[in-house]
């Protein structure tokens, strides 16, 4: 392993790899360590949704910034990411949701997002096969520029583009400890040897909390299992991602025709659990066939699980911490780290390089949890 680097990134997920790319692009000397292989964690396990419809302004901005990057990402990285703007249809089931969604839409519009509120009888114009009445949807919001991409291709695309520009990527390399002097990390001990770095970025996803613990830094993040499944392919017949916060459920169809989706079990306990459950399979089958009765004879091919790295307000933790000055957080994405990665990685790269960040990120620092927090409510938890 090399002796020193400007920036050491811990974690070969989409955020770590994207950050490596934007840093080397700016001329920094970058090293990335990954305990297993690229995209082995949540980046390789999610459904690839990319949406801009959020309830907090900063998430909308992060997401809109990311979409601008996604639109040109294939060209930028020189690879295929299967990015498509098929839209997101978010269903409202209660009057309360209708009120919240209308508020969201007007805030999102003020940010320049092309988004509209749909009445019940307009929903089938977007997805004719959706059983609107059967599922009790009374309204929806629709943003056609939302979409999806293949998260594994995006992550590997960033990693390879970064490596081509000189980033050093060490796979199967574990961080074992740190040497700290005067509130600064001076050396990182890994299973491949020690390395010195000016900045150390904690992008270890659901394991970020464990990395921080090695430095005595307490992160409020908790790992939650999130399960997901995919079916056999049928001829593509809808393009949007369909979400219901009410049913804690989302699904879309891949360009190859497979239906991919997930359901959050409200009774899920925190923990590092990757097991597939029968409860999930049963609930997904029930929900999918209720939402689209035509899916009844479609077979499930695989189910698997990943981890959400959840913070108390469901917003990420970005930037330095008070106690260890050169230890930068890039974690706590709470289940939507993939879709905002291009923008968050750009912001952290700007921060490290001493540039003005294109969006303010101070409100997303770890210190925010000392005071009162504004929770992101548009999440499948």
């Amino acid at each position: 392993m090399k002796e020193r680097t400007d920036v050491l990134i811990i974690g070969g997920g989409v955020n770590g790899c994207a950050l490596a790319y934007y840093l080397v692009k700016r001329g920094a000397n970058v090293t990335l360590v990954e305990r297993e292989y690229i995209a082995c964690g949540s980046s390789g396990r999610n459904a690839g949704g990319i949406r801009q419809q959020w309830s907090t302004r900063e998430n909308v901005r992060l997401a809109m910034g990311s979409v601008k990057i996604f639109e040109r990402l294939d060209e930028e990285l020189g690879c295929e990411t299967d990015y498509r703007q098929g839209g997101y249809l978010i269903l409202a089931h209660t009057e309360e949701e209708v009120k919240q969604f209308k508020r969201n839409v007007s805030m999102q519009k003020s940010e320049g997002l092309e988004v509209e509120y749909l009445e019940q009888d307009e929903i089938n114009d977007i997805v004719p096969e959706l059983n609107v009445e059967g599922i009790g949807a009374i309204g929806a919001t629709w943003c056609p520029s939302d979409g999806h991409a293949d998260p594994i291709k995006v992550t590997i695309g960033y990693a390879e583009a970064a490596a081509r520009k000189g980033a050093q990527i060490y796979k199967y390399t574990e961080v074992l400890g740190f040497r700290v002097e005067d509130n600064e990390i001076v050396e990182v001990k890994t299973s491949r040897g020690s390395i010195r770095a000016d900045y150390i970025v904690n992008a270890a996803g659901a394991y970020s909390k464990e990395i921080a613990k090695l430095l005595g830094v307490q992160l409020p993040n908790k790992p939650y299992r999130h399960e997901i499944l995919i079916t056999e392919p049928v001829k593509p017949f809808f393009t949007p991602m369909i979400i219901s916060f009410h049913d804690n459920f989302y699904f879309r169809q891949t360009p190859e025709g497979q239906i991919i989706g997930g359901w959050g079990n409200p009774r899920e306990e925190p923990g590092y659990n990757y097991e597939s459950s029968l409860t999930f399979a049963k609930n997904m089958a029930r929900l999918l066939t209720k939402y689209m009765p035509k899916l009844r004879h479609v077979n499930v091919l695989r189910q698997w699980a990943g981890l959400y790295d959840v913070t108390p307000d469901a917003r990420p933790i970005l930037g330095p911490v008070e106690t260890v000055r050169n230890f930068i957080q890039m974690n706590g994405f709470s289940g939507h780290g993939f879709m905002v990665a291009p923008m968050t990685a750009t912001l952290i790269a700007q921060l490290i390089m001493g540039e003005k960040t294109s969006l303010p990120i101070k409100d997303l620092s770890l210190e925010r949890f000392k005071g009162e927090v504004v929770k992101e409510v548009s999440v499948v938890g």
Partner: protein, 481 residues
Amino acid sequence: MMDVDLRIYEHPILRFIRGRAVSFTFNNRQIRGYEGESIAAALLAAGIKVFRRSMKLGRARGFYCGIGKCSSCLMRVDGIPNVRTCIEPVRGGMIVETQTWEPDLPTTMEFDVKREKVDVDIAVVGGGPAGLEAAITASKLGATVAVIDENYKAGGQLIKQTHKFFGSVEAYAGVRGINIANKLLSELRKTKAHWILGSSVFAHYSGSSESLLAYGGGRYYRIRAKKVVYSTGAMENMLLFPNNDLPGVYGAGGVQTIMNVYGVKPGNEALIVGAGNVGLILGYQLLQAGVRVRAVVEIMPKIGGYKVHANKLMRQGVPILTSHTIKEVQGKEWVESATIVEVDKNFNMIEGSEERLNVDLVCIAVGLSPSIELPAQAGAKTSYIPELGGYVPLHNKFLKTSLENVYVAGDASGIEEATTAMFEGRIAGAETSASLGYNVQRAETIVENTMRQLEMFRKSPFSSRVVKGKMKVFSMMGDLT
């Protein structure tokens, strides 16, 4: 159009007893079938070879494995896409359609599924020689057993073996495979074992007990078991060459199924790729069915299978060409000819040595890979062991995997043969029963005796490779614990 019927009505060894004649439609055309036949068998008997079009390039695809393990024969049946027609029985009045490009959504909204809960001590997944032996042994020792198989005919690959087995008398030496299957099936029928045929196990969840999900024939099963034996067999390997996806290029085992189980002539002129036992035995089975075998090609400089099988074939005038392989096949919608080529000692094709054979059937007999998806999904540790045909679940000599309640037996634990599969099945059946406290002493005696027989059988030089592979597996398994 003339009615084509490729069914075999006279055969030197087999008698085909067909069920009631039924009629169904294929792309708006009336096709005759017989109850007990698979859709694929009835279509091939009617001379239909193209079953679907590939999703991206629209290429013709047809039959391949014959036992529900590949996706080559998927068709739309009564409005439901992606039905494996090789393991779906014909029913009068059914509507069978070719799938073109990507399959359309199901058009039927009927979903009259019956649910059944099954609670047993031991679930045996796969009803071939290993599974049947495991189920018989465990049932006789007093355990409650369910046997699940995705084929609607039990017996695994034994039911298509017309040749007599070698080896010891305890392992049915001198008996034809098909008769061994019948014997095992009638023995199992005498027990109280629960049969679930024509149903695929598609999931395994562990919890306070093991839960398997299976679906087939309009029935959805939730099977709870204390122990699970996976005797899921193997899948035929494919070979890379231009046009290898054309209908007419079939797995050797798939051809045996069509010809020996359903009595349908798979072609008129055949080329066999691979001179291991499967390729050689298939050679004279094809001759028995009235198919002309133009050649058997073998890339290695030596014939891999038993000499007695090779001699039998050569006496009939079939050339076995060693250091030869297939280069490509030609044809528009199905195989019209194939090019074979000689290879040098580094297996490179020798230019100028090509020969084109006018065949309509190319049988691929180049080995098998263990079907380990379910134990792997359950979390059993696996490893790549080339001597055993690929990835296998690690296991000890009692066939227990890295999971306390999961066992493997037969080809799923490493490619070997039917005789050893039966021994392994018996060991797994006795071990699982003993671990649950059934007739422990008797069970242990069975294990001991069977282990001895297995060792004896594996002393043959033909087993040395397998023994080496098994040793690796046992030692890796030992390192885990």
